[in-house]
């Protein structure tokens, strides 16, 4: 039928890969960067750009984890607790002032695995007890903080592990090791998202979970696996914070849960699932960091900073959705 071909042909091009509706966040990033660069000479200095990217490292790793969960249409608020627990764990396992442990990399691995365990716990609560992820992860976060407090036991563990300390200090090509670790996480995340069944299923679960069941896919193990994967990223995030602060803090993950969700959503990942991904989130993280940094650089009063940031985030998201607005579209 010729008519059909005529009609459908122009739509074909946008079917594969990124379509222009994904262009909003990167454009917003460039625009905001441009505005700050114009307003403040210090902002556009190489040093500051390095600083922005370095400062984004931990958030980027946490956001990697949360992105997979958001892609499924679930939500994860456990980052704060998991990071606290992993921070304490790693600081007590590598060389530190509290005990004689010096497990080095092994300690880091254990902390990441602990993160996995907490993630797995969230996943199990969701899948077996059928508790919505919002609540399951909130509960796990509380448990993580409790565990961290137990390990803290009143005395701040300071790390003296040379390797872990060097992550935050040593630089390669101008960026801190931590930044390279974050970059590696983004790469790994992207590969998982694009080339593994886990990643594609996470995406599919956000698209139409019931269909997967109809197709004979057992969804539950994948859900648990996604939360576990996210937990691993949070665990690593906790380790990175410990490296930065030189000490294991129970509060290591404070605020990262909501910042990571904000970053992911600003980057174009939908909270309802099924759209977005790691690269979107990476853009979102940069956008958020550029904002926080830029507002300080141009000298916005500390009283107003939070408010201005909130306003710009809303405006950025609003601007980004303009090209995809439809009359009967559902926005939750």
């Amino acid at each position: 039928m010729t008519a059909e071909e005529v009609v459908t042909a122009p739509r074909r091009q946008s079917r594969r890969g990124a379509s222009f509706r994904d262009a909003g966040p990167p454009v917003a990033l460039i625009v905001i960067f441009g505005i700050f660069a114009a307003l403040s000479p210090q902002f556009r200095s190489i040093d500051n750009v390095q600083n922005i990217v370095d400062a984004a490292a931990v958030l980027a790793v946490v956001t990697c984890g949360i992105t997979f969960v958001l892609m499924m249409g679930s939500i994860d608020l456990s980052a704060a607790g998991v990071m606290g627990a992993s921070a304490l764990t790693v600081s007590l396992l590598v060389a530190n002032n509290r005990n004689d442990n010096d497990f080095g990399l092994l300690g880091i691995l254990v902390a990441v695995l602990l993160g996995c365990a907490f993630g797995c716990l969230s996943g199990l609560a969701l899948v077996l007890l059928k508790v919505p992820s919002f609540m399951a992860t909130l509960g796990v976060s509380a448990i993580g903080l409790g565990v961290a407090t137990l390990m803290f036991a009143g005395v701040q563990p300071n790390i003296s592990d040379a390797m872990l300390e060097s992550w935050a200090i040593e630089r390669f090509l101008g960026f801190a090791y931590l930044t390279w670790i974050a970059a590696a996480c983004i790469l790994v995340g992207w590969l998982i998202q694009r080339y593994t069944r886990l990643g594609r299923y996470a995406y599919a679960i956000g698209g139409a979970e019931e269909v997967l069941t109809l197709s004979g896919v057992r969804v539950k193990p994948y859900k648990i696996a996604v939360f576990t994967l996210a937990g691993a990223f949070y665990g690593l995030g906790g380790v990175m914070v410990t490296s930065q602060l030189g000490a294991g803090l129970v509060q290591a993950g404070d605020g990262y849960d909501f910042s990571a969700i904000t970053a992911a959503v600003v980057g174009g990942t939908l909270l309802t699932g099924g759209r977005g991904g790691i690269l979107h989130s990476a853009v979102g993280v940069l956008l958020v960091m550029v904002l926080t940094n830029g507002l300080v650089q141009v000298g916005v009063s500390p009283y107003w900073q939070g408010g201005v940031e909130g306003l710009i985030v809303v405006a950025a998201v609003a601007a980004a959705v303009i090209p995809q607005r439809r009359r009967n579209q559902v926005v939750k």
């Binding site: 390095q50 009143g154 701040q156 914070v241 602060l245 129970v250 940094n293």
Partner: protein, 338 residues
């Protein structure tokens, strides 16, 4: 409807409770930072010294949760209840005070209270203890000025903006700046008393002001320690002077190691013990509220500037049982609250 259901007749009987009947409660924000952990440890130590146990309450820095805990606590048996409370903010003190007063529970508060709320107006609110934030802010400001040789730019890391501690300390810095006219405040940002936030904010400010930054004034040691990490990561360790307040163990170590310039001691262990001690002495009748000097009802406790010279003295927080004897409880009064 009638007013006040729960309250029994609450004219606080100053008649003594038996020591064993006294219920000791220490309430702080959380158990997950060194300062408050040492506070609770101090409380435990005192309680043990009189053969009791301290009930620990923590409220995660959540004002509403603190109020909720207090009102639940006051709904129980309050006859010989002694509370040593760290109110989350100024605004949290009035309801705690009014509640305790109605229930007849003995109360010592620390750090935060509105200026016009005075223990002297209440029967069972025995005392309010705090440190002179203006003074400590100024002391470390001066120490910082000296350390950078009297001239140069500094940046300031503020605490949680709506707390009295943050405001007083910053006022102290401003006073110090007036005195040291060579010192210039390049920038000030809030890092909410948090080590992690201080790290990011300091890094940003360091790129913003570059080598103009000669010193960093932090409203507490946690932020100072965060700033130290930022300096290290920026390759400026040792080139910028850092001062803080609180004298937490890590800060003392940093001072001993020459990484930090100064801090001001606020003795968490002592605070945790002394609040309970004062309450215990009153509850058991060894002290009478009426007999307590007006200046001791709300006072600044002694604080010390800690520098490399005297850091060793503060390295190990120790609780001295003699401090808690009913005759000595007001030994550390540095002056009445102004």
């Amino acid at each position: 409807s009638s007013e006040q259901a729960g309250g029994e007749d609450t004219s606080a009987s100053e008649a003594g409770c038996k020591s064993a009947d006294v219920r000791l409660v220490g309430q702080v924000r959380n158990e997950s930072n060194p300062y408050e952990a040492s506070w609770l440890a101090g409380g435990d130590a005192f309680a043990q010294s009189v053969g009791l146990k301290q009930e620990r309450l923590t409220y995660d820095g959540d004002s509403t949760k603190q109020q909720e805990q207090i009102s639940q606590l006051l709904a129980g048996d309050t006859k010989c209840l002694v509370m040593n409370v760290l109110p989350n903010g100024d605004s949290d003190t009035p309801p705690i005070v009014k509640g305790a007063d109605q229930a007849g529970a003995y109360l010592v508060t620390q750090w935060n209270k509105p200026a016009d709320l005075k223990p002297a107006d209440y029967k069972t609110w025995i005392s309010h203890i705090t440190y002179n934030g203006v003074e400590s802010g100024q002391q470390i400001g001066d120490a910082l000025a000296t350390a950078i040789g009297g001239t140069g730019g500094i940046i300031a890391l503020q605490g949680i903006l709506d707390t009295a501690a943050a405001k007083d300390r910053f006022a102290g810095l401003e006073a110090s700046l007036k005195k040291n006219s060579g010192v210039k405040l390049l920038d000030q940002q809030a890092a909410n008393f948090s080590r992690a936030e201080a790290l990011t904010v300091t890094k940003t400010l360091l790129t913003k002001h570059g080598d103009n930054v000669k010193g960093i004034w932090a409203a507490n040691d946690d932020m100072a320690l965060g700033a130290l990490e930022a300096l290290q990561q920026a390759g400026k360790a040792g080139k910028v002077a850092v001062v803080g307040i609180d004298a937490v163990p890590d800060a003392i170590t940093a001072i001993q190691g020459g990484k930090m310039t100064a801090t001001v001691s606020s003795d968490g262990t002592w605070q945790g013990g002394i609040g309970l001690a004062i309450g215990y002495c009153v509850a058991t009748g060894k002290l009478k509220v009426a007999d307590i000097a007006a200046d001791n009802r709300a006072f600044f406790a002694k604080q010390f500037l800690v520098t490399k010279d005297n850091a060793a003295d503060f390295a190990q927080p120790k609780s001295n049982p003699a401090d808690y004897e009913c005759g000595n409880v007001f030994n550390r009064v540095a002056g009445p609250l102004t």
